[in-house]
Structure formats: C-alpha cells, structure tokens
C-alpha cells in the first residue's frame, strides 16, 4: 500500500517534469521566432543624441479635482506613446502652488485659475506669460514658466494703456494669437456649470459666464410666470466669509454685497463696462479719469450719494490696505472732489482695466455711516447696523450663518423701474426679496429644488443630478459655459526640451481633447482657450488651437531633430546639450 502510493508520487513528478521541459522548449521556440520576426533587417544604426529625461507632471490630487486628475493621467498616457517617460505627481493644492509658483521646481505643472467677474477683462490672463510676471524666485509671481518674449511684453503694455476699447480689442486678439502659437502654457478645457431653476415659477433667467443664475443682473431679467413681484429663493452650499465690506474676501461674499452696494460702473452680461452710479466716465488724459454721478442717487437711509462718498470710499479702502482689493486700488495716485457730483481719479500709470476692474469692484459706502468706524473693531451687531445703509438695489441684509441670507428690494433705487444706459436696456426689477438658503451639500440642494423649497441653484450641481431632475417637468436644467482656466498646463521653459517651441506644440497635439471633454467631463465642458469663447467680446475666434493628432506630434518632433530608438524611446538631436534649469 505504502509503496504503491510512493510510485504514484513518482509518476506524478515524472509527468510534471516532462511537461515543464516541453513548455520550456516551446517557450524558447516562440521567443526565437518572435525575435527573428521583430529584429530589424540589419538597418545601419542611426546616431542618437542624449535620451530625453523623464517628464514629471505636477498637479492637484484626485480629491481636490477628480476631472483634472483624470485629464492629466490621460495626457501622460498619450505622451508616453510619443516615447517620453512620464510621471504624474498629485500634490495638495498649497504644495502645487509652492512647487510651481514659488520654487519653479517642475517640468510640467497643471493647476487652474478661477472665474471672477472682473477677470472677464483679459488683462490678468494675458499677463500670465509676460516677463514682468516671472518676478523673482520665491515670491510666487504669476508666470512661473519663465517664458519671455519682448514683442509680447510690448503688446501687453500697449493694451494696458490703450483706453479706446476697440483698439485695445485688436491688440488683445493679436496677443491671443501669440499666446496659443508659442504655447508656454495652455488651458486644456473649460468646465461647464450646471444649474437648475423652477420653470413653473420663473421664466427668462439671464445666464452669465462664471455666475450662471446667481448674479447681480438676475433680479432685473428673471420674470415671475405669475406676474407681479415674487420672492426669489436660491439654494447654496457655500456662504460668505463675512459681509463686512472691508474684510469680505470670497467671490461669493461679493456676489451678495454687490446687491447691497453699488459700484460706479457695472459690467453687462457680455462683460462690457457701463456707467452705473456714474452718469458718465470721461478720460481726460491717460492718467486722469473723471466720473460724474447721477443726480438722483440715494442711500437706503434717504441721504443723497455725492462726490464726498466716492472720495471717502476710495480713500478708506486705500488707508486700511484692504488686501482683497489691492489690485484695484494700488494704481490710484489720488481721488479729488471736483464738485458735488464729480470726482477726478489720478492714476500712477495709464490703465485700461481701471474701468472694468477698479470702478466695477469697489462699492460706494456712505461716508456719514463709516466715517468714524475702525473697520478692524466692528462687532457683529455693529456690522448689522452698518449694512442697513447701502447704495444698491437691495437692502437690509439678514444673515443667519449656515441657514440663510435675505435681502429685500429697495424701491428708492434709481434702477428699480428699469433704466437705459446707451444701448443696454435694464428692465424693471421683478424680485421683491432674494433669499439664499444654505444647505450642507449639493444633494440637499437638489432635494430642496424638487420639493420647491428653493427656486434656483446658486452654485453648480453635478452631471449626475441632471438625470434626476429631468423627471420633474417644473424644473429646467441649464448648462452654462465658463471662462475659468480649469486645467492650466504650464511648461517650464528653463528646462529642455520645453525650451523648444515645436516640442511644446507637439506635446499639445498629443492631448486627447475629445476624450477629456466627452468621457472625463461627460460632455459638460469645451476645449480650452486663454480667453474663453464665452467671453465673447475679448475672445479671438481665429487663434490656433490644437487637435489630438499623434502623427502631427511625431512629425514636429522629427522636424526638430528628435529621434527614436528601436524600443520607441525618444532622444535629443545629436550634439544637443539639454538645458537643466536652475541658476537663470
């Protein structure tokens, strides 16, 4: 019994051994044939330069922005097909900022720039590749790519001091052409915002880029289906940091404050500046701008709005060094009262953004209320009193944190019954009160909309919500285009091979744009530009864009003298010494 078991054991091991040997022989045979077929038919070896070093892409983590993360992974996969060795590193946002903007320690960096209404003016985005914005290492200026182009710099300065808007537009168009052609940085896509509102209660909402439903023009344009005046209730999952006009430092806070306080100029939904509290804005000379106020203006306490209030407000912001507004006030040399309704601004340098940014962003505060207030020592109760005297179309803001914000319409406001400014027609207000309810998350906002607790979403919801909401006939979902730079890809041109224009272009031809937009963004996005198409006044529709085309990419690389070995790995041209960055 025992011996028969043992012989069975031998039998098994003998069979196994035979099998292993057979497999081995087969393997060698297959490998040999494979090698024979694949081996190049004795081509003379082409001389190769140095191998192109590994490309490291730094971007934010998947948690911070899943779309950007997936897009960067897709880009890396395509670049590998070109023979590059690519590694993607996801870092927490502050680390990305430190590595890329402060330390310039990157090959390729993918980050982003948010949409804020004043950024409809092209000045900031076009400034991202100027020599001035390279600044000094460790100070974090806006152009960490290191790209410098004297012609581009000249045009940038020119557009900034060109106060004729159409002439400036022409320069801005030319700059976009250079930006896309030279491509030291390139925005891959613009995400769409998805918003929804109750179409049984409201009709004809105005959809603005960057702030689709919740924006300063909505109370004028949205119409109650039942007629008359109605309460407009928004749902949001974010809320202001504070409503203190000398502390508020979030976009959302200023969306609310812009209802309570009026600036001298507002931007139309197309992004064009129109005089608002101002009757007229006159350019006396390139550094002097004169603003004449409307004569029928009143604060919410009935006192008239005069030149004194304008002078006071601007000086107040400058005196208290309000950081959030610094880009707007730092170019102001002086503010002088000419007469009761006229104010003269002296600027340090000529500045075309003075109209679209400074006059638009800074709200006019009542001098008689704020004059003796130390903004740093204001308590919550005091603030509530201070906010009661505003200059805007809505008044008496009430805010219970994490619950709601409410403002009621101010019938004494000059635009209450509508107003006509040039060819821009502002209809009468049809909203008696605006309430913003604060919810914990986006799902709760969607539930509240279905339950008719709210009329509209103040923030963007997710693609997944669209199907849910489609089941309700009283809800309309709107896809809104945006102008944020959602995936701002930067090349470090201090390092090879990114110092060669053709290589940057080749890498941009190897980005799967359609895949990113249709699959990763699920169709809720569009191809990226530096000045987005939705910013229609400033966008140049004729700029060069990049399509996904690996052949073209290879062609460009070959034309630049790059070669591949038989494993497909890419090499520099013979005799080329790659630049290694550091010590500029």
């Amino acid at each position: 019994m025992v011996s028969s078991l043992r012989s069975l054991g031998y039998a098994i091991s003998r069979t196994t051994a035979l099998l292993v040997v057979a497999l081995l022989i087969l393997g060698v045979l297959v490998a040999g044939i494979h090698y024979y077929i694949r081996a190049p038919p004795a081509a003379p070896p082409t001389p190769l330069g140095l191998p192109v070093q590994k490309i490291t892409i730094i971007t934010t983590t998947e948690g911070e922005d899943p779309v950007r993360w997936a897009a960067v992974q897709a880009i890396a996969a395509e670049w590998r097909k070109l023979g590059f060795e690519v590694e993607v590193i996801g870092l927490e946002a502050s680390m990305v900022d430190k590595k890329c903007y402060y330390e310039w320690d990157f090959d390729v960096c993918v980050f982003g720039w948010g949409a804020r209404v004043d950024r409809l003016d092209p000045n900031l985005f076009l400034g991202l590749i100027t020599t001035e914005e390279i600044g000094v290492k460790g100070e974090g200026a806006n152009n960490p790519t290191g790209y410098s182009n004297p012609e581009y710099d000249r045009l940038y300065d020119l557009q900034r001091r060109t106060l004729d808007i159409n002439e400036r537009r022409r320069i801005v168009f030319e700059m976009q052409r250079i930006f896309h052609e030279e491509a030291p940085r390139y925005n891959i896509y613009h995400k769409h915002a998805i918003v929804a509102y109750r179409s049984d209660k409201w009709a004809n909402p105005i959809i603005m880029p960057g702030a689709p439903l919740f924006n300063e023009w909505q109370p004028y344009f949205i119409t109650p289906t039942a007629g008359g005046m109605q309460e407009l209730i928004y749902g949001s999952n974010t809320e202001p940091d504070t409503l203190h006009p000398i502390k508020a430092s979030l976009i959302f806070s200023w969306y609310v404050l812009k209802l309570v306080y009026d600036p001298l100029v507002r931007l139309t939904p197309e992004g064009k500046p129109v005089p608002w509290l101002a009757e007229e804005v006159k350019v006396i000379d390139p550094t002097t701008v004169e603003v004449r106020l409307r004569s029928n203006l009143r604060f919410h306490d009935g006192k008239p709005i005069t030149a004194d209030d304008v002078v006071f407000t601007y000086k107040y912001y400058i005196k208290h060094e309000f950081a959030y507004f610094r880009p707007y006030w730092r170019n102001i040399e002086d503010v002088i009262k000419v007469d009761d309704l006229t104010v003269r601004f002296k600027l340090k340098t000529p500045d075309a953004t003075f109209m679209t940014n400074t006059l638009y962003m800074i709200p006019i505060l009542p001098k008689h209320v704020w004059e003796n207030v130390d903004p740093k020592a204001v308590t919550e109760e005091q603030l509530r009193e201070l906010l009661k005297v505003g200059s805007g179309p809505f008044k008496n803001p009430v805010w219970v944190r994490k619950e709601y914000i409410a403002v009621e319409v101010a019938p004494e406001h000059f635009a209450y019954r509508g107003v006509r400014i040039g060819d821009f027609e502002v209809p009468p207000i049809k909203v008696s009160r605006i309430i913003i309810r604060i919810y914990g998350d986006l799902d709760s906002i969607v539930s509240a909309l279905i339950r008719r607790e709210i009329d509209a979403t103040a923030v963007s919801i997710l693609p997944g919500h669209v199907d849910v909401l489609a089941r309700y006939d009283y809800i309309r979902v709107v896809k809104a285009r945006n102008f944020a730079l959602d995936a701002d890809l930067m090349f470090n041109v201090r390092r090879s091979p990114f110092d060669i224009k053709e290589i940057r272009q080749a890498l941009l031809y190897a980005i799967p744009y359609d895949h990113i937009i249709n699959v990763i963004l699920k169709g809720y996005g569009e191809k990226g530009y530096i000045i987005a198409p939705v910013n229609s006044f400033w966008h140049n529709p004729d700029v060069k864009t990049y399509e996904y085309n690996l052949e073209k990419a290879r062609e460009l690389l070959a034309k630049a003298g790059f070669k591949w070995d038989d494993k497909g790995r890419i090499y520099y041209p013979v005799g080329f010494t790659p630049r290694k960055q550091e010590d500029p």
Binding site: D97, L250, R326
Partner: protein, 325 residues
C-alpha cells in the same frame, strides 16, 4: 477624597494643555500657510503678505504659541481666518444648534436601550428578540449619514411630509436661541434628524444592555428572587439595575461625542451645527476655528468621562473602595 479630586483636576488641566500644544503644532505642520485659500481668489503674494501680517502670522512661532496658550486659557480662542470673527462666538452659536439635536437624541436613545435591552434579554430566543437583534445589528452597521439620506428621500422628497433640511424656514428672525427653537416650524425641521439619530444611537447600547442583562439573569440571586415568588416585573427591574454599568460607560463616550456633532449627518440634514463648521474650517484651512472646535470636544470628553468615573463609584461600591482605599 479632596486630594483625589484635586489630583484629578490637575491631571485634566495638564491633559488639556497637552492637547492644546499638540494641535497647535500639528496644524502648523499640516498647514504652513493658511493664506493659500486666497490663491483661489486670485490674490498675489503681496496681498497675501498683508493678510498674514493682519493675523500675526509673521511673528516667530514661539511667540505665536505663547500667545495662543495664554489667550486660550483666558477663554479667547483667537480669530477665525475665514469669518474674521472671534472663534468663541462662532463655536457657542453652532454648539447650541448641535446640542439641541444630540443631547435629546442621546438621552432618548439610552432610555430606549435600557428598557428595550432588558426586555429583549428577558424574552430571550423569542421571535421578538431575534427580530430585534437582527434589525439593530443592521442599523448599527449602516452608516448614519446613509440612513439620513434614505429617510430624507422617502419622508421628505417622496412623501413630502417634512422639510429636507435646515433648522427653520427662512427668512425668520429670532431674538435668542430659545426664541429660535420654541416654534412649531423648528419642531417640523427637528423631528426627522432627531428620530434618525435616536434610532441609530440606540442600536448599539440596546445590544450592549441585552448582553449584560443576559449574564445577570444567569446569576444565582435571580433564581432566588424567582423562587421566592417575586413578580416578573420586579425581577426584571432588579436585574436591569445590576446590568446598567456597561451602558453608563458607553453613555459617557456618547455624551462626549455629542459635543462634536456628526459631520456627515449634519451635512446631510443641512443642520447648522459644529460638525459642519469643522469641515468648512478644514476646507478653508481655518485652523483657529478647527483648534477651537477640537478643544471644546476634548474638554467635553474629558469632563464627561470624569463625571462617569464618579457616577461609577456610586453605582458600584467596589470601585469607590478601590479609589479611596
């Protein structure tokens, strides 16, 4: 005994100081520069430097630490980076919102746990007991926020019976916190999260009570009581009193946690509580606020556990003898 209490107080104080120190350095390690959130807002380095200066972040670290400890012990938790307001006023406001939900829910839950748990042990291996053990195990193993979402989906969205979230229907004006919660509207908003939280909180201690009660019922004195001829009600009452100890321990922890609120739960119900504030504080790198919330949580847990220790010694004389002797 006085020496014991003093020693205990000193220990609490030192422990609290340690927690403050730890969180001060941990947050600074994790968030070297809180003004990073203003990058999203497009502020440049110079603007951010002004903000850093205004919060005293340009001072040397040891100076910031000393100020923080001294101020904290005086009850000043500093200024919130995000809200630009004193942290203490933000926390008190939000903490009341949380407690108005968590304290009643915890108390009800433990009351249910005590009675239901005892009763289940008494009716051991009946269909009633089996059904409840299964249900409670399932409830306990589900995530709280998910139960909340399902409750909202069914009761609020589908049936439309109760509001889907929030504390009151805006716009409302309330003079004080009491004024805010003494209204029918508040009750309508409160009842659903309260019920869900109670059921969830009750699930584990009920099973705990049942287990403890089962082992008590096996004791000799129960057999004696039954043999002497005491009624069923009296036997259950006696047995449950002896089985309450594990429940009390667990209640101490639960009460402490009640002060922190539940992040996901408050988010789902849009409840303006301290848990939601904590998430927002993290998201906005607002560490003064996060530190304040943590300090309050830590203090609540330390104090309640000390109270539980004391309660213990009354309920179980063996412990009293152990500590004083």
């Amino acid at each position: 005994m006085i020496a014991y209490v003093l020693r205990k107080l000193l220990f609490i104080f030192l422990l609290f100081l340690l927690i403050l120190t730890l969180q001060f350095f941990l947050f600074r390690l994790a968030i070297p520069d809180p003004t990073i959130i203003y990058i999203r807002e497009g502020l440049g380095p110079e603007e951010r430097e002004i903000i850093r200066r205004s919060f005293g972040l340009d001072r040397p670290l040891y100076e910031q630490y000393l100020r923080y400890i001294v101020n904290f012990l005086r009850g000043d938790m500093g200024y919130s980076f995000l809200y630009k307001e004193p942290v203490s006023s933000i926390i008190i406001d939000r903490l009341l919102n949380t407690l108005v939900l968590t304290i009643p829910a915890t108390l009800t839950a433990f009351l249910i746990a005590f009675y239901l748990g005892s009763y289940m042990a008494w009716l051991r291996s009946s269909l009633f007991e089996k059904a409840f053990v299964a249900t409670l195990s399932v409830v306990h193993s589900l995530p709280l926020f998910w139960i909340g979402m399902i409750a909202i989906a069914i009761i609020s969205v589908h049936l439309g019976l109760l509001p889907a979230g929030g504390m009151r229907t805006p716009p409302y004006e309330a003079e004080s916190f009491l004024d805010k919660i003494l209204s029918f509207d508040f009750l309508k908003h409160w009842i659903l999260p309260y019920t869900v939280l109670t059921i969830y909180t009750a699930s584990y201690p009920t099973l705990l009570m049942r287990g403890s009660m089962i082992s008590t019922l096996g004791e000799d004195f129960i057999t004696t009581l039954k043999a002497v001829g005491f009624s069923e009600r009296i036997v259950i009452a006696k047995a449950s009193r002896y089985s309450i100890l594990p429940l009390i321990t667990y209640m101490g922890i639960s009460m402490g946690l009640a002060f922190s609120g539940s992040v996901a739960f408050e988010t789902v119900f849009s409840w303006p509580g301290v848990g939601r504030e904590l998430v927002i504080a993290f998201y906005n790198l607002d560490y003064p606020l996060a530190q304040g919330v943590f300090a309050v949580m830590a203090l609540a847990i330390i104090v309640i556990n000390t109270l539980v220790d004391i309660a213990y010694s009354y309920l179980d004389p063996r412990i009293r003898r152990g500590t004083s002797g």
